[in-house]
Amino acid sequence: MTVPAVVLFAVFHTFPALQGIFYSFTNWDGLSLTYDFVGLKNYYYLFRDENVWHSYLFTFQFAIVSTVLVNVLSLAIVIGLNEKIKFKNFFRAVYFLPNVLSVLIVGYIFNYLFANVLPLWGEKLGIEALSTNILGSEKWAWVGIVIVAVWQACALNTILYLAGLQTVPSELYEASSLDGASKWQNFRHITFPMIAPFFTINMVLAMKNFLMVFDQVVALTGGGPGRATESISLLIYNGGFQGGEFAYQSANSVIYFIVIMAVSILQIKFLQKREVDM
């Protein structure tokens, strides 16, 4: 049973990936019947291509900010949910709800809110900065995308942290309450160290997912204004299919793959070391 699975996986996953690497050394535009080998030319131009640099810059800026925000917010929510509060189950259900919604449609809904609802409030409150659509501003459009991404991604991370909290034995808290520890000390010395492995998983997964951001950008800005919010995936999609840069963008994907691998490995290494240290 394993063998067919491996074969299929190789045919539909590994082989295309290798093909992508292969095309990255050619000048194929995706349509013509012929192509030539051009060696490392595509890679050379990639490094000189401002659009590519810009998309990496934007994607990383977006991913780092979103990852940090998501994890901070999720932890805050989890701590709140873990206190003795009313309607606990109801709230838990609400916080997880965004996870089941389609990213694209959520993007469309927020697109409307940014265009038509927030400016109204901005007008009413007399806040100049809010009175125009932030998705139309070169400086702030990325913040709009962060808001939507974080709104949706908190759900999964919250649930993961909740799972982590259930692994913390309650005796620990009882002991610390005898010592008269404050809430913050509790968190700092018991909760956080105990759920450190979950922190690692969350950071790595969130970062990886945000580095691949695509749906939100399509629904909110289409990569605009200008090329301000063109993420790497969107650049590959647009350039590869529409711009006749199939081979060139394949080279971009190869670099992208190396970058994501490197980031994930570094994160795991660094965060696991911290787990041990704590």
Binding site: V94, L97, N99, S102, E174
Partner: protein, 272 residues
Amino acid sequence: MAKKTNWVATLLIAVGALFILFPLYMTVSIALKTPEELADSVLSLPVGLHVENFAKAIEATNFFQAFKNSAFITVTTVVLTIITNSMVAYAIARNMHRKFFRFLYYYFVSALFIPFPIIMLPIVKQTSAFGMNNPSGLVFLYVVYGIAFNIFIYVGYIRSIPKELEEAAIMDGCSTWGVFWRVVFPLMAPINATVAILTCLWAWNDFLLPLIVLSDQSDMTLPLVQYVFQSKFGTDYNLAFASYLMALSPMIIVYLFAQKWIIGGVTRGAIK
């Protein structure tokens, strides 16, 4: 541990929950308004039910066709994923002491880190060369791509099932096949649920893969239809939102009924 209710936390959590619910409230309210009401005030409560938005949206996006496609793709994907991926995982988990299988395990898991865009361009050509640019082909891709992540979850779980049961069954003269279906598979129920939920959410809401694989308009899934009909909505936001709401609602309904179960399932996946 009889503690008093923490009202501060309750309040903060409630405020947070409002942030989550507000966009959804807006979606519902805009979907129920007429354009005139919307022009008057964006935030007011809808007066009466304007079902005509939904009727128009159903017609505009051919909703039932898209719903059928989404449902077909999701259900088949889930069923096939559970049957096939669990078997593969079982074989790998029980043979981890052999080099070949250990290599396979790492091969699958490392594939998790390959970003999709690198596959995106070649797979488009490949799927159409094989005549797979249709829902069945899409299901096939989901099942195959799911292996990487599901192996990771399954193997961890199977290794926690005591081997004695299987050994006993083999003594009774069951084949490996029989052992798996009669003994192991039933024991895997909780983790199967987890995989089912995660796969279901993925297949139902995915946008990029259907976007590049499907080409026939009658094959399109719900998210794709929303994308394709953007132009048709123009500035008729009520129509657009009615359509969004309908596309989101099947999942929301499922979630309302099975949220405990879904959250539990996802949690189990996390602990593994």
